[in-house]
Symmetry: C2
Subunit: 157 residues, 2 copies
């Protein structure tokens, strides 16, 4: 599965964007990012992001649950356990990060881990707005390119 | 422009994903990522990625151009200048990275900078396959969640 996704992404990355000459051609070495294509690098970065989003959402939930139960958030074991885990373990690989939390012995860690697992799936499938991000990143690249070019031309004058 | 994108992303991030009770609700603190929403964090990460992709594509182009001209790539000033800049300056902010390259005094740096600028726009607009990345990240989260859950259940038995 992973190999076939990788192969398709490489084919796509090697595409000739505009017909004809050099100006619009974009040839990306297929292993440019530690052996990964740009699409796979983006997939991994978003996977990390979704895991971090889900963890922060569960911390917010546990804080609200504590307050609803008449406690301070810091008095909730789940809140404290997850907050500490997030602070002490930066997410490099979202799945390794999840696995380590799920393997811990205390019940509170395992309960929050299961909720983070559930939320990151919901977040990826239903909440994160891929289309808006596509629009935003293209609009950002255009406006930043225009700004950089205008500063460049100003310096030449 | 930036402020209004930020505001819309926050509204989206606060959406209730499934109606009703706790299971499907995803409430993401709007400033979860150094004051940014997840969509803005994703936009910035993709902006960095596109800048890196464009730089690597220009290095490949300059290498090919050198070979086509009967030289070794290392004999091309543009190839050497950009390769060294990429190696010595990890991209944290894609625009600051581009600006520093465009401000350099030597003609080779400025020429490759202009080409990187052009290519990252083409790459964002025409080459990068957002839809495939969306499919891949959702499929990856699903299969990794299934795997983590199955390992968790095995440990309980």
């Amino acid at each position: 599965m992973r190999a076939s996704l990788g192969r398709r992404a490489v084919t796509r990355a090697n595409v000739v964007a505009r017909g004809g000459g050099r100006p619009g051609r974009v040839h990306v070495p297929s292993d440019a990012f530690q052996g990964r294509s740009p699409e796979i690098a983006a997939r991994d970065a978003l996977g990390r992001l979704f895991t971090a989003v889900a963890a922060r959402a569960v911390i917010a939930e546990e804080s609200e649950a504590a307050i609803a139960g008449g406690m301070k958030p810091e008095e909730s074991e789940r809140y404290e356990v997850l907050k500490k885990y997030v602070e002490e373990n930066p997410i490099r690989d979202g799945n390794a990060w999840m696995a380590a939390l799920m393997e811990r012995d205390d019940v509170a860690s395992r309960m929050v881990a299961l909720r983070v697992l559930e939320l990151r799936k919901t977040y990826a499938e239903e909440v994160f707005d891929f289309e808006r991000v596509r629009e935003q990143v293209i609009s950002e690249v255009r406006s930043e390119n225009d700004r950089l070019m205008s500063e460049y031309v100003k310096r030449l004058m």
